[in-house]
């Protein structure tokens, strides 16, 4: 049984934002992550604010600038099956299709996938860890098989989302609505690394809600892909992964984004790998240099050094796939 909460069903965004400003309030989108967290008492909620009464948050529409606007309440299944996304933003379609199980994709939303809480077993379990306001990260000298190899500091979670690295690679923006209007943030800046604040994963303020994701028009000669490494054939979080988006003109890489998943507390963009690609032909040597650069500076914990070659391999496979 879930703990008690009040449930608010606003029918306007303004009302939703107003409701979310109250302390102890959480937005309820698909609920696939939220309800599990409440059941396991990962965090409390006095009031859930349903976003289901806001049809304007649903759907995929073209933007005037040639990109796509994806409402935050669009289901992951819709994103995975949308022909425009598959055609022009393949990394996102692949990432969405790789999320969880069919039922969870039918229910979970794109916004929820970006805002989901970490999957660290100490955070989710009955441990009063640093991210929950406790004194320490239990993973440091505990079971850290699946924890981060980049960006860990005080807390060593990995970001659980598949769509987030894909969208960062696609230079997506997110719109955050609050009481004073809305602001647009590059998705890359939406996520908060532990070095900045280890108690939150996003820049969302109380009373703010993520309303839409905008992917800009792809660069010339665009191609993108998401490579997810998982132990089980389906329904599994990424052990490691790589989202890559390239623009290739005249046989040379003009634009590159390389983002790792399963690697860091946030989708981990690696500019060094991008620099290794830009200006070069996408051949085996370039790919190898970029893949090496992608994992440079990794700081594994006692039990997760395997992630470094895995990530390198994922980057190489993703780039190789884009080369064919």
């Amino acid at each position: 049984m879930l703990p008690s909460f009040a449930y608010v069903r606003p029918t306007t965004l303004k009302a939703a934002v107003a409701a979310l400003a109250a302390p102890g309030t959480r937005a309820h989108a698909g609920g696939t992550d939220l309800l599990g967290c409440l059941r396991d008492r990962v965090f409390p909620a006095d009031t859930l604010v349903s976003l289901a009464g806001l049809p304007e948050l649903v759907g995929v529409t073209p933007t005037a600038e040639g990109g796509l606007r994806l409402g935050a309440m669009t289901t992951v299944a819709t994103v995975a099956g949308h022909p425009d996304i598959a055609a022009r933003y393949r990394a996102l379609a692949e990432a969405a299709a790789a999320v969880a199980s069919p039922q969870l994709r039918n229910q979970g939303t794109l916004g929820g996938n970006l805002c989901q809480r970490p999957r660290c077993w100490y955070f989710r379990g009955d441990f009063h860890c640093a991210r929950k306001g406790g004194g320490k990260c239990f993973a440091v000298d505990g079971e850290n098989r699946y924890h981060c190899v980049f960006g860990g500091e005080t807390c060593f979670i990995v970001h659980p989302s598949d769509t987030a690295p894909a969208l960062v690679a696609l230079d997506a923006l997110v719109r955050l609505a609050g009481a004073g209007g809305s602001r647009v943030v590059p998705l890359e800046k939406f996520f908060v690394p532990p070095s900045a604040d280890f108690t939150r994963e996003t820049v969302l303020e109380p009373g703010e809600v993520l309303t839409e994701v905008v992917v800009p028009a792809p660069p010339a000669g665009a191609r993108s892909t998401y490579r997810k490494v998982r132990a089980r054939g389906a329904w599994d979080f990424a052990l490691a992964g790589a989202a890559v988006s390239l623009g290739i003109e005249g046989g040379r890489v003009k634009h590159a984004r390389v983002v790792l998943s399963g690697a860091a507390p946030i989708p981990w963009r690696v500019p060094a790998a991008e620099q290794a690609l830009i200006g070069h032909r996408l051949d085996g040597a370039t790919i190898a240099r970029a893949a090496d650069a992608a994992v440079a500076g990794a700081e594994p914990l006692a039990d997760n050094a395997y992630k470094v070659p895995l990530l390198r391999c994922a980057v190489e496979e993703a780039l190789t796939a884009l080369n064919s």
Binding site: M1, W121, E143, A231, R232, G297, A305, K307, V308, C313
Partner: protein, 790 residues
Amino acid sequence: MTSHLEPVPGPLGGRHPRIDAAAKVTGSTRYVADLALPGMLHAALATATVASARVLGVDTAAARAHADVVAVLTAADVPANSIGVIFGDQPLLVTDRVRMVGDRFALVAARTAEAAWTAARLVGASLEELPGVFDPVAAVADDAPLVNGASNVFRTFHVQRGDTAKQAKRAAVVVEAEYRVGGQDHAYLEPQGCLAIPEGRERITIVASCQCPFYIQQGVASVLGLPLAAVRVEQAPTGGGFGGKEDYPTEPAACAALLAWHTGHPVRLIYPRELDLQATTKRHAMVVRHRWGADRAGRLRFAEVETFMDAGAYVGLSTVVAERANVSAIGPYHVGAVRVATHVVYTNNLFGGAFRGFGAPQVTWAAEATMDKLATRLGMDPVELRRVNVLDDTRRTICTGQRLRTPVLAREVLDRAVELAGWDGFRAAPPAADGAWRHGMGVSLVLYGCNLHWGGQRLDRSSAVVILQADGSVVVRVGLTEMGQGNLTACQTVAAAALGVDPSQVQVWQPDTTTVADSGPTVASRGSLMSGRAILDAVRRLRVRLDPVAAELLGCRPGEVELAGGFARVAGSPERAVAMQAVAKEMSARRIETIATGWHRTKARRFDPATGQGAPYEFYAMACHVARVAVDPGLGIVRVEEVTAAHDVGRVLHRDALEGQIHGGVVQGMGWGVSEELRLDRGRLVNPNFTDYVIPTSADAPRITIALVESDSEAGPCGAKGIGEPSFIPTAAAVRNAVCDALGVEVDTLPLTPPRLVEALGERHPFAWVVEAATRPATEHEPATVGPRA
């Protein structure tokens, strides 16, 4: 599925719909969670989250004060506070000492399940943490903290045959290895659950999801101080067991019974999933050390095996598991000299219990790995090495000195599996790498002792009741349970065949301890064998009264009556027939007793536990699995593409259920072999959920090809042998050998997860060097260029 024997006429070996098919596909089967009674209370447990501590006090005041709470019980409220299934080393509720996570401080009954679990969290235990020990090898060290009693080595079992030192001199190659084989959770989809219904202070009924109603009967009677006759246990339809509902359900049943006894209300206890994973028994983790040698021709000269079995904090069934592990350690091979020692070791980890295979899978995994290592050293094909050593009709003495009954079909299952899997073609021309995927094939054999080990043979009996109803339909009761494996349907099939009626005429009902005598546990792949033999006995006894009535109606002698096709008829003159309904009606009209009991016990055997010599099992089944895998060495991912399973099954009772058992054994064995890992942090499971404890999905299941090697034997009813466990045991070993074949490295730790494979590849990983290169001190890498916020 192929078979070299013709099917027998009648329902035997057929595919008629299971007895519970309609109920299960309509959702109308009533599991424990679907049962409720007026006034029913809900139970919850307050349990430890640390593995080793002294208990200074338990404070239940806050829990008692919580709204809707009716009772909170502690150890002081338990008439006889001991729940160990064999040994008295486990309290139902702890008093002074916590020895593992999940130990119970208090029981709560409340008017809602929510109130009960909320109140359970309010129980305060004042603890002084103590050092714990979490590895079975570390636990045997002199300075290891003691877990439970005077020594962490609870018992050691042996097999000693021949002179290994002498035989070692004839060995041209010797393999030494240490295998670390991980545990496994049963992960049945229906969590532990039971309903206790008291009748005053006189007696009590327990309805439980379980494999062994008689264990629960004994446990509850003992805890409450009641005679056995005052405890009735009815098995509820059970949503999977796999051993996890053999020994463990006695604990929740005793908890619910205590609360019911104290409150006078029916009490239902359903485990939340996370508690089910955190607190219940597991497959034992084992460390298996090998020293095996073979001569130039590949003949096994000696084998030394020392196994450290992680029993966890309580012995439970660990000694019995160790007995099977002990005599299974060598496999179906002829070996000149054998020394096996199996230590049952206490640790502060979650305790081990029954799990499909019962100790055999771990030692089989090690034995089959060593066989492949020997083959590599000898430059022999792994199958060829096995052919050189495998038991057969001419060489049929196992490591305990027991001579097997013929036919011994180990060579046949090996040959059939290898042929069907295309082993020779694969070895001659291995498929080229498919992108990153490399292919491998591996083989594993198993020698499976059917029914219970000598040590448990006092329990190896079975009871049945057959009632011919006045309309010709038949009620069958047995003492062994249905948990998905198809026991009800197998019993239906056997009864229908014996009475010559259509299976649809026979209803087999879930066991209830008041309708049949103690039949022992439904384990060790013995359900159909033991129930079936008891049913045949009951039908034989029924016919003492039935045949004369039929004979009178037919105008023949009772000895001439045969039952077939729904008729009693005159043997040799099938046209002289009378419908069974008519016979039943006549018996009813004449007030002739139409109920008969049946009984079966296995043959008494001799065995010397000091040397492990004698006859540990009555008879054996052989199996061989061949796995074909694809492995991505860069990512460490294993895709099990096909498992070819050849089984020595005696005779088939029900073909669909038999196939289902093999499919399930293969899928579950594959899960154990490649993905399922219990991650314990100081004895506490950090992954008690199905997100982090990863069992196979439909997307992971391999193609499964089945070959049945049938034979007529005196084994079970109509010649059937057990299949539940032999279907599981060889899979992980065959997968391991296939993965090693694909990668060209040895992996001696189970499961073969991606991290494990990357680590096993070590320097041979395509990017082994990146770990060092990438993690060089940051100054060399100018970290400012790395990271999202550069």
